[in-house]
């Protein structure tokens, strides 16, 4: 027979509402990265629920794999796409908002109502018996005997995922990478000699987070081409004029 101790109930009543609120938060925050963080929080909550429900192994995996790996992947991608980019939350498809709200209320309401009316006709058992040799051992037994076929088959899924990522992301070189020598020759052959020495580095005379601030040229004017093209494209370049020196102090201070 399953009895639930008070600590768990307390935990549930604290974390449960929090997770739901966090989930709702996911829908209403503008920045994707905030959504991601809220999701990470929900996942941790759920991990705690797992652990509370005698699914220790899953709880840990949830934190390690999900929160640790999957969410990090999400964050990576968010970074790539633009971490500061924020969504407009105004609905552009007419009627969809209404449908969404109705569906949400309907779905959620019906779901809750149905769960409340559901009866299994047997008492909740609890995992004490199943976990008596240890949760991990129990899982392992199932995993490597009864569900070994699925377990093996899932390797195909993993290969597919890797292969897919390769297909979509791998840039096959269409032209041989120019050697340094070739690059040097090219620099001199084409363009002005001004660029022959290579592009200026960002962050020279850094008074700010270096990467997104254009370098200042010796005459004090900013050099926009010192910023990575990606940042430019993303609009993450700071206005460089604010770093322009109004007047270059040419006086050389004597070292004392």
């Amino acid at each position: 027979m399953l009895t639930i101790q008070t600590p768990e109930a307390v935990m549930f009543w604290v974390l449960g509402p929090l997770s739901v609120i966090a989930a709702i938060g996911m829908l209403v925050v503008k920045k994707a990265v905030h959504s991601a963080l809220l999701l990470a929080w929900i996942m941790i909550t759920i991990a705690l629920f797992y652990i509370a429900q005698d699914a220790v192994f899953l709880g840990i995996v949830q934190i390690v794999v999900y929160t640790g790996a999957v969410m990090m992947l999400f964050l990576f991608i968010l970074m790539l796409v633009g971490v500061d980019a924020s969504d407009s939350l105004t609905e552009t498809i007419p009627g969809l908002r209404a449908i969404a709200i109705t569906a949400a209320l309907g779905f959620g309401g019906l779901l809750v109502s149905l769960i409340s009316r559901a009866a299994l006709g047997r008492p909740a058992i609890g995992l004490a018996e199943a976990n008596k040799d240890g949760n991990v051992q129990g899982l392992a037994k199932l995993l490597f005997s009864d569900y070994v076929f699925a377990f093996e088959a899932i390797s195909a899924l993993l290969i597919t995922a890797a292969l897919g990522a390769m297909v979509l992301a791998h840039h096959q070189r269409t032209v041989a990478r120019p050697t340094q020598r070739e690059q040097a020759i090219a620099r001199f052959r084409t363009g002005s000699l001004a660029s022959a020495a290579g592009l200026p580095n960002p962050g020279v005379y850094a008074r700010h987070n270096a990467v997104d601030v254009p370098a200042l040229l010796p005459d004090g004017t900013p050099a926009p081409n010192s910023i990575s093209a990606t940042l430019k494209a993303r609009g993450d370049m700071l206005e460089s004029s604010q770093f322009e020196l109004g007047e270059v102090d040419n006086t050389v201070q004597e070292e004392k």
Partner: protein, 99 residues
């Protein structure tokens, strides 16, 4: 407390995830909402595992995590590919195919 309470939470999370898919435009957020739904399903599984006193639910949840991880890889790869073509991660922009 009744273990069913976890089911309510899971149901609500699932609902919210589903709504998120509909209301959010950023493909990555949409995808995260789907992850939320999967998590809600997992929570349901684990809860039922406890109610039923068998570990199959947990095993299923475990498989789900692996599958979800693979899905994330593929999904994000696709999203990135789209993003590079369009310089946009909004799924509303990807609406050439219609009618």
């Amino acid at each position: 407390m009744n273990p069913y309470n976890y089911l309510y939470v899971a149901g609500l999370l699932f609902t919210i995830g589903a709504i998120g898919v509909i209301v959010r435009r950023n493909a990555i957020v949409v995808f995260m909402c789907i992850e939320l739904m999967l998590n809600a399903a997992n929570l349901t599984l684990v809860t039922f595992s406890r109610i039923n006193g068998t570990l199959e639910g947990q095993v299923t949840a475990f498989f789900t995590m692996v599958v979800a991880a693979c899905e994330v890889v593929v999904g994000l790869a696709i999203i990135i590919a789209i993003y590079r073509s369009r310089r946009s991660a909004s799924i509303d922009d990807a609406s050439l195919l219609k009618r």
